[in-house]
Amino acid sequence: MASRLRPWLEERLPLADLLETLRHKTVPHHRYSGWYYFGGMTLFLFAMQVGTGALLLLYYRPSATEAYESVQFIVTRVPFGWLVRSIHAWSANLMVACAFAHLFSVLFLHAYRRPRELTWVSGVLLLLLTLAFGFTGYLLPWNEVSFFATRVGTDIAATVPVIGHGLVRFLRGGNDVSGATLTRLFGFHVAVLPAIATALVGLHLLLVQRHGMSVPPSVERNRAADPGVMRTIPFLPHFLLRDLFAWTAVLAMLAALSTFYPWELGTKADPFAAAPAGIRPEWYFLWAFEALKHMPSTLAGIDGEFVAVAAMGIMGIGAILLPFMARNTPGGRRLVVWTGIVMLLFMSAMTALALAGNTP
């Protein structure tokens, strides 16, 4: 019976072509190839988010009067609800970390070079989407910390010139953070952003398939002299089994984190209460938050906050357009590496400062 199933499927679906392509697919293996796993890991964590998110959707209620209680219900009354919720929260953080690691590894290994420019662009957009997922999802439990963090975060949008006020109203569904904000961000989080993300992930994976894995210039260079520097391994089964190994290990880690460090419920948001001391956004926004804090109130006559937001905007655009600006020469590549190191150091330093400053 099983032996008749395969020809039946093969006649109707392009299974044979797909499997054939995958069987021929190879992956380079060199001293830096460990970094290749971060892309797949980010994808795995995204799949975790979609899965746990869909499960949470079965019980969550996106209204200001019921959101907190529904999360409390999930965590206390639904069997394994505590696990699904904590995995969703931990996996979100891990996904952001992985996405950043993936971005920086691609940067330092120069995988953005021709012909992979569009892969890079779609990747940076995906990172921004991931941060947007994190921001919109953070409000959904409707607790004190997330309410005020959202208020502070959306306040920053007001510094954008011309459209600032309109942008804040668009994000908040009104002038202030309210139940309308919750419903709106919920819509973004479960419908709009996933749709865009699916399209972008599809494009990103298609392009990766098309172009295969990039080999860093240094490895290419040394290969001519010493072929042992690099070999290739088949995608099926070698690379995939290793991928599976990493994914399963991370799954175990998520389960352990959820058991020993369950995500807290917090206290229900009260829009009329005073903001508690030490409100801050999630760790992946801390660097921007801290940088804003250290800006002087005016810089050469211009509002300091505006300068900071503009600088971040320029950084973002620069990141997207990197492959078109960077020259594929040793000097050009060195410049990219140094820019990357400076960015990494800056973000780490700002994050460390923020954490140190806020430790009670």
């Binding site: 190879t26 172009h211 391994i233 089964p237 089994l241 175990a252 058991t259 807290e264 419920l265």
Partner: protein, 400 residues
């Protein structure tokens, strides 16, 4: 001769002139204060109270004994007062006459309080105006001006401790710290216009206005007859009067430091009942604190125990009820409540323990799942190692 006359005129002028200056300043002060007075708002002028047979311009100050009757000419006239407030009371003067202050004043003792001492003179505000000296938050300060002054009280052979004692009481804490204006001040128990210390037999009626349940229980308890026979002032025997402190469970008992031991000892049925009552109260408190401990532990470990907290609240209410039932001075009614309370506390504790157990179960489940995953990972690693080494002459997939 002319020098002497000049000196005499100067002396007379000097003695009269400052006096008239002083009088002018006092009038000015009074007039500006009167601008905020509730009587001014009602259209009255200085002449309404400063009645003079010498015509306009003279404002004689009424003598202290004349003040109350003067105020009463309007404030006891129902037909007149109706114009300003149809529901206002007009028996203040009658009450005053029954009070200790009123009786002494009628006997020409000017040292005691009269209307203006408490309500003010020229800037009189309504009683419910927060600026009035007789507003709930200000009353005890006003009474304390005399009753907290040792020198003044000594003249009457009294102590000046009550206002200070009251400030340390649970009622003062309710009023001042929590802003609970229903909390009793001096006038709640002593009366305002008819201010008199409550009699030994009637003070309990005063407490009973708020502490209804305790009073009801006391009245049907064996204690009532005994205290009446002994001339003991019911509530005050155990709770004292001005410095009423939050009662403790330790007050009940036959050991040193308790209140019961002032009359009782260990012997007999009463000693037995007292000991049992104390045991029950202590047992309930212990059950509550055990439940609280395990619930807090569960909450700190990240478990949510709302059902347990609800049961805990119930148990706390039973404890409040049990303390009220102490006033039945019998074991049976108390036992019913402490049994229910202990049951609720046990339920709360069970919820907490279940949460801690669930925590252990989760960790055991995690351990099992992790073992399975580790076994899988180990086998997978072996498999990976055993994969045939890829030959380096593999046709590479597309140009890199």
């Amino acid at each position: 001769m002319r020098g002497t006359v000049r000196i005499a005129v100067a002396a007379i002028a000097l003695s009269v002139f400052p006096a008239t200056v002083r009088a002018q300043t006092a009038v000015e002060t009074a007039k500006s204060a009167f601008g905020e007075d509730v009587h001014a708002a009602a259209g009255l002028t200085c002449a309404a109270c400063h009645v003079s047979s010498r015509g306009a311009g003279a404002l004689p100050i009424p003598s202290r004994t004349a003040i109350a009757p003067l105020c009463a000419t309007c404030h006891s006239d129902a037909a007149y007062m109706r114009r300003f407030d149809p529901q206002v009371r007009v028996d203040q003067f009658l009450q005053y006459q029954t009070s200790v202050h009123g009786k002494r004043m009628a006997a020409d003792d000017e040292r005691v309080a009269t209307c203006t001492d408490c309500h003010g003179v020229h800037g009189i505000k309504r009683v419910n105006d927060a600026r009035s000296p007789v507003a709930p938050l200000n009353v005890t300060t006003t009474c304390g001006r005399c009753h907290g002054d040792p020198a003044r009280m000594k003249l009457f052979g009294r102590e000046a401790t009550p206002p200070g004692d009251w400030s340390a009481s649970v009622h003062a804490a309710a009023l001042i710290k929590r802003g609970d204006t229903s909390a009793p001040t001096c006038i709640a128990c002593h009366g305002s216009h008819g201010a008199t210390p409550p009699g030994v037999t009637s003070v309990a009626n005063v407490c009973a206005q708020c502490h209804v349940r305790e009073a009801e229980l006391f009245r049907v308890s064996p204690k009532k007859e005994i205290f009446d026979a002994l001339g003991e002032p019911e509530c005050l025997t155990c709770h004292r009067n001005h410095r009423i402190e939050p009662p403790q469970d330790t007050w009940v008992g036959v050991q040193e430091g308790s209140v019961c031991v002032e009359c009782h000892d260990e012997s007999g049925d009463s000693g037995m009942t007292i000991r049992r009552v104390r045991e029950e109260l202590d047992g309930l408190s212990a059950a509550l604190s055990n439940a609280d401990a395990v619930l807090t532990r569960a909450e700190r470990a990240g478990m949510l125990v709302d059902d347990g907290r609800t049961a805990f609240q119930e148990a706390r209410e039973y404890r409040v009820q049990s303390r009220v039932l102490v006033h039945a001075f019998a074991l049976a009614p108390l036992l019913k409540v402490t049994t229910e309370g202990t049951a609720s506390a046990r339920r709360a504790q069970q919820v907490g323990e279940a949460a801690m157990l669930e925590l252990q179960t989760r960790r055991r489940g995690l351990a099992l799942a992790t073992l399975v995953i580790l076994a899988f990972l180990g086998t997978l690693w072996l498999k990976i190692r055993r994969l045939p080494p890829p030959s380096s002459q593999q046709p590479t997939q597309r140009a890199m």
